[in-house]
Amino acid sequence: MSNKSEVKRFEELFGLHMNAAYNLAHWLTGNESAANDVVQESALKAFRFLDRFAGGNARAWLLTIVRNESYTWLKLASGSRWLAIGDEISEDNPDFSHNETPEANVIRSQDKALLQQALEALPPAFKEVIILKELEDLSYKEIALVADMPLGTVMSRLARARAMLKTELVKLYKYD
């Protein structure tokens, strides 16, 4: 049964991770009001299922819920288009291009707006691993938990995600 001490426990566990929750929701849904909705729903769910949290990593646990809620939002907002892209990923065939252009080597993604645009262009399945790794500094083990994939897949997913980010930056650099 929920009571006041449960609210207190909830605050202690997750109070510090609300920024992480909002950050992931914002990157995945791409807008503020959706991120607001997603975080509210997620907090409510986390609270409801508090008894299922067996201790351990509270941030990863909350982010798992936020990710699910964000995907639910995406699915409803844009059909199954985005999810389909994630589902079709083949980990066996990483697209490591060796055809590097000379510009590719001089591109520095120091322009914040450019980097944001490039990152936003990635499908959620790739965007999320970059956010979780570079912005939240989660370990591969935690990423596997949050993004619901085998531990062995995390490295190849990140490899592809970074390659795609690089490609996006090259594109923007050329078109800019």
């Binding site: 609210v7 605050e11 520095r108």
Partner: protein, 250 residues
């Protein structure tokens, strides 16, 4: 020691970069990169990209009011009903005289009847149909209706459209039931209008209670600290279908 090929290295260099490789494999990668300039260059490139992302990708901090709202709502949702004694102590019940107190206690102890809320629900339902005030926000899109409630209610009501199952969401409005602000959702099924009232409840979950009043069918239940009341002139069977759809979603 066996060497690794460039393809493997292209993948492992990410684990290398993120400090996720065990020392044996990390050594293989180091050795490989020492002799292959392409992989070394790729590694430097990815290292730069990682550093730039860490430094320059915007971090979206949660708005302060969102966080405050979340915790305030959770607190409100578990606020226990005050006992009469606490009410007296906190001055909610003015103890003017022993007579007044006796009357207050008698009134308080009178068995709670269903009739209060049932009549209110029936009145709200009829009013919503008569006064052309079915919806404040007319939309079948839950992403229009749900955010509309934000800021108007101190809870976030679940908003779902079941058009596919024959229950089309018409929109939402604010209502006032049982001394609290309530989310009102209207659905249409055939020619029938269904009102769904949703409000926070302190009580634990309860099975749907079905009753009829003045020609209307009513289904009420508690789930996840929310109280749901459906009312319509629709027959009980079809109203039950909607209640089951809702129960599954929330």
């Amino acid at each position: 020691m066996t060497d690794i090929d460039c393809n493997i290295c292209q993948k492992w260099l990410h684990g290398y970069l993120d400090n996720e490789l065990d020392t044996v494999i990390a050594t293989l990668v180091t050795e490989h990169m020492a002799s292959y300039a392409g992989c070394r260059r790729r590694y430097e490139e990815m290292k730069t990209l990682k550093a730039d992302t860490k430094e320059n990708a915007p971090y979206h901090n949660a708005p302060a009011d969102l966080v405050q709202n979340i915790f305030a709502n959770l607190k409100a949702s578990v606020q226990p009903e005050l006992s009469l004694w606490e009410k007296l102590r906190k001055g909610f019940v003015p103890a003017f005289s022993t007579t007044a107190l006796a009357v207050a206690i008698l009134l308080y102890m009178a068995p709670p009847s269903n009739d209060g809320w049932v009549d209110e629900v029936v009145s709200e339902h009829t009013r919503s149909l008569m006064a052309a005030h079915l919806t404040d926000v007319a939309s079948s899109d839950k992403h229009t209706v749900k955010p509309w409630f934000t800021g108007k209610l101190d809870f976030s009501p679940p908003v779902y459209d079941f058009a596919a199952q024959g229950y089309t969401l018409l929109g939402g409005r604010l209502d006032y039931l049982q001394h609290q602000t309530t989310a009102g959702l209207s659905y249409q099924h055939g020619k029938h209008i269904i009102n769904a009232f949703i409000m926070p409840a302190a009580e634990s979950d309860s099975e749907p209670q079905k009753l009829s009043r003045r020609g209307y069918n009513i289904i009420s239940w508690q789930q996840n600290h929310m109280r749901y009341i459906l009312i319509s002139d629709l027959n009980m069977g079809e109203l039950t279908t909607l209640s089951q759809l809702l129960q599954k979603e929330v």
